[in-house]
Symmetry: C2
Subunit: 432 residues, 2 copies
């Protein structure tokens, strides 16, 4: 629902209060004109449980490209031989997205990276202690000089170049602006700021980006960690203030509890400008890439995940408290159809039979037949006699069965799953 300023007209038509009068009208706002730098293959690799093979990276890169993200950011080729190889492989996939990678502010790293064939380089100042020492004029000059040298070289090779710092929100403001101004002057494409610790709040972000917007003419990219729950909100505030690019990762995976999640950001921006988001990005592909990544890093999509979590659109029909509140279907700010998901009816611990399980199979977009659904349902009921299953248990069962089926096996997490009449080991109260 777009949030417009109040409109007045010449006649006596009553004022419509359906849209909010509290919307900001920032002249610099890029809320309806932003780009995504998808960093699952860089920040995401720093997630505790991420061990991506080259094949998996290619699969993820293609899935992200299907969504229409503007850039893919990869781990530095200087990090390992595999990282270097991955940069080359992914750069040669012919994706629509532009391929970026990170380098330290060194000519050797820059040359190595350019040779892989990426479209652009992100030059990062190594440590924020450098920034803290900027009161010593000499260090400042040295860093600026080196940055200029590396950036100029990269640009001479025709690549896009971003310059960024880490821990920007706890760095000295003047020094930060000074170096950004210097690199802007030599034509860097983009500067980046990062809330490396996840401590920034939205209004603070707005102020810094607004200030930076007045200092540089180039694009502004932002990277927000989510330790204190503000990564999505910070991204939004940054765009309001004039930032142009936001870093994301699938399910927000990254160092610690991660960064701005791709799905969550799209939900937020969809609310602000549905037309821009739905035209630019294929929102129906979010669930698929989340499934791929969740499986690859071996986590469960959180029950409350934006859009794709099982309860994102769940309505608890008939619950008493509803008597007090309006019918919530009036209040769905996100239309599930636009995201390719259905309104999910809760299975809970009171299973209603294989139809409910089939419903969940469809929700998860798994390739299982009705026969499969019945077999899994029988197993679920047997297990539920022992201990009530959570939705996550059901999900794990279903994915496991799907996985095994794809491998041509019948052995799964929970032992052999067979047609109901062959169940031997546990309770015989199975019914499909």
């Amino acid at each position: 629902m777009a949030q417009n300023g109040l409109e007045t007209n010449g006649n006596t038509k009553p004022r419509e209060a359906a849209t909010s009068p509290y919307a900001s009208t920032d002249p610099n706002s890029n809320v309806n004109n932003f780009k995504i730098i998808e960093s699952t293959l860089r920040e995401g690799e720093q997630f505790a449980n991420a061990f991506f093979t080259t094949e998996k990276k290619v699969e993820i890169a293609k899935a992200l490209d299907d969504i229409g993200v503007d850039y893919l950011e990869l781990t530095s080729p200087a990090a390992s031989e595999q990282s270097r190889n991955d940069c080359t492989v992914i750069s040669n996939l012919g994706l629509k997205a532009k391929i970026l990678t990170h380098v330290r502010c060194h000519m050797d790293d820059a040359k190595l990276a350019i040779d892989t064939g990426v479209d652009g380089l992100d030059v990062v100042i190594g440590t924020s202690s450098f920034l803290r020492e900027f009161s010593h004029g000499k260090d400042m000059d040295y860093i600026t000089k080196q940055a200029i040298e590396v950036i100029t070289f990269i640009k001479s090779k025709g690549l896009e170049v971003r310059f960024s710092t880490e821990d920007s929100f706890r760095s000295d403001l003047v020094d930060l602006l000074s170096i950004y101004k210097a690199v802007d002057k030599i034509g860097v494409n983009r500067v980046g700021i990062a809330d490396t610790v996840g401590c920034a709040n939205p209004r603070q972000v707005y102020e810094l980006v607004k200030t930076l917007r007045s200092v540089v003419s180039c694009d502004i990219e932002c990277h927000f960690h989510n330790d204190t729950g503000c990564a999505i909100a910070n991204a939004y505030a940054a765009l309001e203030a004039g930032a142009t690019h936001i870093d994301t990762s699938v399910l927000g995976i990254g160092e610690r509890n991660g960064i701005t999640p791709l799905g969550g950001l799209l939900a937020r921006m969809y609310t602000a400008d549905k037309e821009y988001v739905t035209k630019k990005y294929d929102l129906t592909k979010i669930r698929e890439v989340e499934n791929i990544v969740a499986e690859a890093v071996e986590v469960t999509v959180p029950f409350n995940n934006y859009i794709t979590g099982y309860c994102a659109f769940t309505h608890k029909a008939g619950i008493h408290a509803k008597a007090i509140l309006n019918n919530p279907s009036t209040y769905e700010i996100l239309n599930p159809t636009d995201f390719g998901v259905t309104r999910y009816v809760s299975i809970g611990h009171r299973l209603t039979g294989w139809n409910a399980v089939k419903n969940r199979i469809e929700q998860l977009d798994l390739d299982l037949t009705d026969e499969d659904a019945k077999a899994v349902t029988a197993k679920i009921k047997q297990l539920a006699d022992v201990r009530p299953l959570s939705l996550d248990d059901v999900d794990i069962l279903l994915r496991s069965y799907h996985h095994a089926k794809a491998d041509g096996k019948h052995t799964t997490l929970l032992g052999t799953i067979e047609k109901p009449e062959h169940i031997t080991s546990i309770s015989t109260e199975a019914s499909a």
Copy 2:
């Protein structure tokens, strides 16, 4: 890390850039003076999978009271006989927290609620369509009159009273302020605003709360849904603008993907004012209440959950990308010890043996012995031969074993768990 304004002193000491110069210094800010209204037993009951018995509500209420939340909000006694009984039971527990419940703006509901013994009532305007119709003077007068009557009655009985609207951010501003002003005038303790659909953004919230702060003299309570990922950030912005109370629920459970989560809000506020938060609330009890609620509603604590998610403090030692960034331990804005959790070392799918599992048992605060850890580890390894386990799988296994052990049984989600030498059914490659 507190964010102070710049400090200057008379001598020539270099300026310290360790704290951010971007902090706001709002005169109305209650960032270091806020209260929590814990609504797991009201909003949380609207979560898809919540089916709380009275005993479970008592357990949750006590666990929340141990944390030191200021209020507990319960489902309306008018909703069902059980809800009514629960209000009475919980009001008689002798908790430190004050007990609140919801009522519609009707004398009958108010009387019913007062009789249960709660400390305060939240009077809610039933539908925002009423607000939209406020341009018709008659409706406005009628609503205001009724609100005044009910509020006056509640106050005459010595109870605390809050008046609130729903979908406040899409309501007509003038009508909203008019009715709040009217109830403030007759001495309501608190007014409440709600982002019922989860569409509000932080700067918008700040503006509305700031405006409201200038209109009413009473306290201001805020309720934020998290559909677009801004519930925590909105709460923070609201407090910056002068709000006094924030609604939360454990793990944020509630309608759809829920509201401001208790743990996440505390992480955010801890970052802003560590002393206030650590003195007022027992942060080491967050994990326990999250475990209780997660088990009760049958979900898994999300892998990336604030503070207690398995990766909240995870560092991936030796990962190549670290060569580019600083050592992340420098960047822990949340000290895990303050929250009673340990820095978690990733097990991943490459299990290192029973010690890693034991580490996870401690992380989850489960009552299992070394022998138990070895037995579960053997099972995990057998299953991992079939399909790699996710951390969530391991967690489910451990909780299941713990559960069964507490019940005196040995049957669990994964069939019988026995001492390693008795394992019969699957692969014999077990080793503890």
